[in-house]
């Protein structure tokens, strides 16, 4: 009898000290974001989103997003957990404005629970660790485009207020010495990424090896990866400090086998009956070189100007782009019968072609400053496509109204013809919101 009591007391104490240790090593914070967003998009016949039936965008929407950040760190184990609760409000559904672009949903509210990050790091001595879980794997020095990253398609920083979807990874990192690090990376799951669901790409596990060198003035990384679909990837990227204010970087990639949708014509009995198919086909099993060079200069008075140029072999040349836009024209007019399914699939793939930019040659400029007067961050950006003379202006303004309250404004304006990269879907969008840091 006494034995059981003593055992229970010991168990209670062990449990209590365990709980105490857990409590002492957990830290948490939460951002609550509330916002409203206006999007003006093209939805006439002949566009990639006819009658808004493909992208199903909302002219006016709002949201209340809860973003907790919980972390546990003790000895060699660290765990991060970032659950998400997003409540979206379809303001179009409240409106009877006939000028609205074809509202597709009458649902006023939608909510979603998701896991933005759940990962654990096990330290194996001081020089190595294993990292596993669901998170976003980011690589590369560029602000706008990271061709060296074989794992994540959507790496752009267009709107930093909206999170991109994570994937599932396992990594083993070893620090060889002060200069060299090696990492084995396995992308083992697609998580909730829509781009790896029907009608888009099939997901294949990708395995990579990265070797990094850190010099006194520079750093370089070499990454190779492959998957079961025989997609091979070789990337070399690095950065170098030229002076106290001038920084340069580059990102050079050779892909053999890629995921990308392109259009092709299916011959019919006569030309009028020809159909188009937007596919991830054999055209993608050749070599695609990509090169990006960038530099930034910081003025003595504070702002930093950034310039990047990139050429991507994955982008479409004039003929390929013409075929794609012909396919969009054709498919946008087929909204009935057996053609409808194929047309809708083609248009969806024409929106999400599997790479952030459609064409080959781009110039990106950015001008911005952080912490102006201790309260203001601003960033102004412009990206230009040389191949179709379209471009995109964007700006991000963040004002710290108080120590825990941020007011932000994100604006994007696209210019270009309807048959161009930036002119094909969205005219402009504005997002205004508040972030309360708890």
């Amino acid at each position: 009898m006494y034995g059981w009591v003593i055992l229970l007391i010991i168990m209670g104490q062990v449990g209590s000290s365990f709980a105490q240790e857990i409590k002492e090593n957990i830290t948490s914070s939460m951002d609550v974001m509330v916002f409203t967003r206006t999007i003006n998009f093209y939805d006439t016949t002949g566009t990639v989103n006819p009658d808004n039936r493909i992208a199903q965008l909302q002219n006016d929407s709002g949201g209340l997003y809860f973003r907790p950040d919980i972390r546990y760190q003790s000895r060699g184990l660290s765990i991060w957990f970032k659950p998400r609760l997003n409540i979206d409000v379809n303001l179009d559904a409240f409106s009877s404005n006939e000028h609205m672009n074809n509202p597709v949903s009458t649902e006023k509210y939608e909510h979603e629970f998701s896991t933005q990050e759940l990962k654990a790091k096990f330290q194996l001595g001081g020089e190595a660790y294993v990292l596993a879980g669901r998170y976003i794997k980011e690589l590369g020095p560029s602000i706008i485009y990271n061709p060296s990253n074989p794992f994540v398609i959507e790496t752009g920083q267009l709107n930093p207020k909206l999170e991109i979807r994570p994937m599932d990874f396992v990594e083993l990192n070893v620090t060889i010495n002060q200069e060299w690090e090696a990492t084995l990376i396995a992308n083992v799951g697609r998580a909730d990424n829509a781009i790896y669901r029907e009608p888009f790409f099939k997901f294949y596990r990708t395995y990579g090896f990265m070797l990094e060198y850190y010099g006194v003035y520079d750093s370089y990384s070499l990454l190779v990866s492959t998957n079961r679909k025989q997609q091979h990837h070789l990337a070399l990227f690095g950065q170098r400090n030229i002076s106290d204010s001038f920084l340069v970087w580059s990102d050079i990639v050779l892909d053999r086998g890629i995921n990308r949708y392109y259009a092709q014509k299916i011959p019919g009995i006569d030309d009028a009956l020809s159909q188009y198919d937007v596919i991830n086909g054999p055209e993608n099993y050749r070599s695609f070189p990509t090169a990006l060079v960038g530099s930034s200069y910081t003025f003595e008075v504070g702002p930093t100007v950034t310039l990047e140029y990139f050429y991507t072999g994955r982008g479409f040349d004039d003929d390929e782009a013409k075929t794609l836009f012909d396919a969009i024209d054709f498919s946008s007019q087929k909204n009935a019968g057996t053609d409808k399914l194929l047309s809708n699939r083609n248009l969806a793939r024409a929106i999400n072609i599997g790479q952030p930019y459609l064409r080959k040659n781009y110039l990106f400029t950015q001008f911005g400053e952080n912490d102006l007067y201790g309260i203001l961050n601003y960033t102004l950006r412009y990206i230009h496509s040389f191949d179709d003379n379209s471009g995109q202006y964007s700006g991000i303004l963040e004002w710290h109204a108080s120590d825990s309250l941020e007011v932000f404004l994100v604006g994007i304006y696209n210019e270009g013809a309807r048959r161009s990269d930036f002119g094909r879907l969205i005219d402009y969008q504005m997002m205004f919101g508040l972030i309360k840091r708890i």
């Binding site: 980011e138 002076s243 102006l372 201790g374 120590d403």
Partner: protein, 257 residues
């Protein structure tokens, strides 16, 4: 006999020319040791050190804001790594600045990956003034003795430090080192144009155990802006701890963790 005379003459001539060089070399060595020790007392030249830093920005004798950061730094095989994590106020919390020698990255919530930055970019905004805590002068600067003069009643060596590379934030530093204790007492920071940018005065009131003995370690730095002399920044160091870090502490890929 002629050979012996020639030999003595040669020795005399050689000694005449060599003795100042020997003196200069030994003085340089001595001052180099002083500079290394001064770097140590400010957190440099140790395999691993961590402290909390409380920053007070003062304008017209009023505190306009305060910032709390945690500094982790190590110097191994002549390679410097430092991670500055912003703790407060909340608007800066989770911002991080990583330095690996002259490579620098900045991260904050909302960024999808750490961005590479230059040292001038580091100096703008919330990280401004943190750079004067940098304690690698022996490695980063050439030095010569300008003078010996009393400062706060104690003899000090006044060194002229000139940046070895264009990557340094300050081209020249005039640096006062206490001749007896080897503590760096004052530094004047000059830009490339020769203009005085800021002045820092250092205090060493943290008693820390290092390799079995107590040392007087950096505790306060008062930085005065040369343009607005009423504007000051006070840095207060506390909770100093010598420790070895995991290698992942100083990895840019771990900054958003």
């Amino acid at each position: 006999m002629k050979i012996a005379k020639f030999y003595y003459l040669a020795v005399l001539v050689f000694a005449f020319f060599l003795s100042p060089a020997v003196t200069i070399a030994s003085t340089q060595e001595y001052l180099g040791e002083k500079l290394k020790q001064a770097d140590f007392f400010r957190g440099g030249r140790v395999s691993g050190v961590m402290w909390n830093l409380h920053v007070k920005n003062i304008e017209r004798n009023e505190i306009i804001n305060t910032i709390d950061v945690k500094v982790r730094a190590e110097n191994k095989n002549g390679r410097l790594s430092a991670l500055i994590s912003f703790l407060a106020p909340k608007k800066y919390s989770r911002q991080k600045l990583l330095l690996k020698d002259f490579n620098m990255w900045f991260s904050k919530p909302g960024l999808r990956r750490p961005i590479p930055i230059s040292s001038r970019q580091r100096l703008s905004g919330s990280a401004s003034n943190v750079d004067v805590v940098s304690a690698n002068y022996y490695e980063d600067y050439e030095f010569t003795l300008l003078s010996e003069e009393p400062l706060d009643g104690q003899l000090s060596y006044v060194l002229n430090l000139t940046a070895k590379t264009r990557l340094m934030s300050y081209y020249r530093i005039k640096y006062w080192i206490n001749a007896k204790t080897s503590h760096g007492l004052r530094a004047e920071f000059y830009g490339k144009s020769g203009k005085l940018i800021k002045t820092a005065n250092y205090k060493y009131e943290n008693q820390v155990s290092y390799k079995g003995s107590l040392v007087d370690f950096i505790s306060h730095v008062t930085i005065t802006d040369n343009i607005n002399s009423d504007d000051r920044t006070i840095l207060e160091m506390s909770d100093i701890e010598f420790k070895d870090f995991d290698r992942s502490t100083f990895q840019n890929k771990r900054m958003l963790d």
